[in-house]
Subunit: 374 residues, 2 copies
Amino acid sequence: MADAAPTTTWHVDAPLTDVPPAVDLTIQEFLADRHAEFDGIDPVIEQGITELGKFVVGGKRLRPLFAWAGVRAALDGGGGQLDPGTDAASLVRAVSSLEFIQACALIHDDIIDHSDTRRGRPTVHRSFEARHRRDAWLGDPGAYGVSQAILVGDLAFAWADDMLAASGVSAEALLRARTPWRAMRTEVIAGQMLDISVEASGSEDPEAPGKVNAYKTAAYTVERPLHVGAALADAPAHTVEMLRSAGRDIGVAFQLEDDYLGVFGDPAVTGKASGDDLRSGKRTYLAATALRAADATDPAAAARLRAGIGTVTSEEEVDVLRGIIVDSGAAADSTALIRSLTDRAVETLRGGGLGRSVTGELVAVAEELTERRS
Amino acid sequence: MADAAPTTTWHVDAPLTDVPPAVDLTIQEFLADRHAEFDGIDPVIEQGITELGKFVVGGKRLRPLFAWAGVRAALDGGGGQLDPGTDAASLVRAVSSLEFIQACALIHDDIIDHSDTRRGRPTVHRSFEARHRRDAWLGDPGAYGVSQAILVGDLAFAWADDMLAASGVSAEALLRARTPWRAMRTEVIAGQMLDISVEASGSEDPEAPGKVNAYKTAAYTVERPLHVGAALADAPAHTVEMLRSAGRDIGVAFQLEDDYLGVFGDPAVTGKASGDDLRSGKRTYLAATALRAADATDPAAAARLRAGIGTVTSEEEVDVLRGIIVDSGAAADSTALIRSLTDRAVETLRGGGLGRSVTGELVAVAEELTERRS
């Protein structure tokens, strides 16, 4: 174990802002143990664990953060309690396991989306491909890379469960956490399947991206992590329902804000090309509502938008589409919806009977995630 | 629930031969529940669950069979016991969950191997591809099929854990089963990664396929399932070690027999083309040892074998390679090794202190799996 491990001094009042570095540490410890346990099988296994390690470095740690918020909420006004033998360190290890589900989702998504990089580094399938090329191995390097990445994603998925089960929380806590854990895993996979089929079918129904968001983002990123944390800390049903309700609203608002930034965001802030979603043709609620509104009020503009989504390349072309979306009213509607969902979530949290500090921290996170325009 | 469900009349003495149909039923029940729970999300989810259902139909159910053997062994002379509240029906549901790990492994393997069919039916990625083509959707049908199949495999992997956790066995039994369960999941993935890298590197080291067999087949198909069953039924350490030792030998022998049939097997028995492994170039222990022996005694023959593996197409060419393998002594050595491993496993089982019927049944299964030449 690492020296001066924050997890050994971790306590149940730890603020949400302390979660990301603590998660980094628990994951490093976990992977160091896996290296010790499995590197000896073969260099390719060591390579796989190393790739996974590089992959789980960084990231905002949103899911463990919301899960920790669920723990804090349960213990601070929410009516929950720690089981005998369950300490703060085991709880932070338990919530860190969510990052391995995320790792699997992203590694497999990168294959599905044919992505070459993520956060400025080669994707896992590209890394394995590069090693194959470097060593002049037999067969197609790209296919080899994809094959190994599918398996590394599977490993991450298995290790999420292992990390939770070995975290040190009580058997009763694990049992309670199963309900949201199993729901979340199926919901994120279902959301991804739906996302892919919506894109392939070319559906313009605004309900469709809304549903994708509900399962792939809102439930998976906010609602269920809050639920997991609350369950670990034995929160009563009314607290769980309150947190889930706020979590759903925050999650939907978060994705809508993400979609807004995908059209209007400043590259210096988003780290992506200007109008990235318009260039890629991502089927968002914003795009769908803009098309529907423009169809009714300005068919020529609607036709230009429909044709431009996914095909535009120049900044001028992107600007034209942005103008159409604004003129359709969809941009303002989306902004208003984000605000109203966030306000409703904040109202739910403030009326939730939780302690002052956890309420304040959760409200701050909700507002930060839904106001990212500068 | 289905009428006249064998699981409700299932008992702990149920013979191994009764396991496959019981597993079929528990899986049908589980999937029916998942349809009820998730079909409403979207037709593509219903399609995914249906594809998974078609995929888990059939198969020899080896892993649940060995796990059930572990339960029987623990309870019949092995020194184990049923936890209060754990009944036979919950145990058969628990062991059935292994089939979902197998489903994930096969669905992902079919993608990795670019297989079009399995057991005479389209692979999952080909099924989704066909639907995409039929509906004339956007984008590449093949890529769509692979994407959805990666996710259906992920779903299967998640549901294996869910099925085990919801099987009804006690929390203590689940805790005991975690040790072999977590080991097995990592071992099968590591074995597959190793298999892929061995093939791509073109390694001729006989140790390599041996190691792949140990992790991908022996541990995963026989040793760990026996271990899971024994752990569920609280077997003491000496029984667990005895079963694992026999399981390792049976598992390695099983794969060696598979490899022998892949060269010499009768298509009417194997269901595969004559000399299938020679045509596909599969890197087996048999091929590696034949090459090593031929290098020493008949370099010209070794060269023909080396060039022929993976490239031969006609029955005449395959026959030539078969002759070289026989002449090298590797075929006889392999047969002798299969026999000695099986004999050692049988000896271990017979000396294991288990009840007469479970001993007899396990010995029968071991012999059946390692003598499949007619």
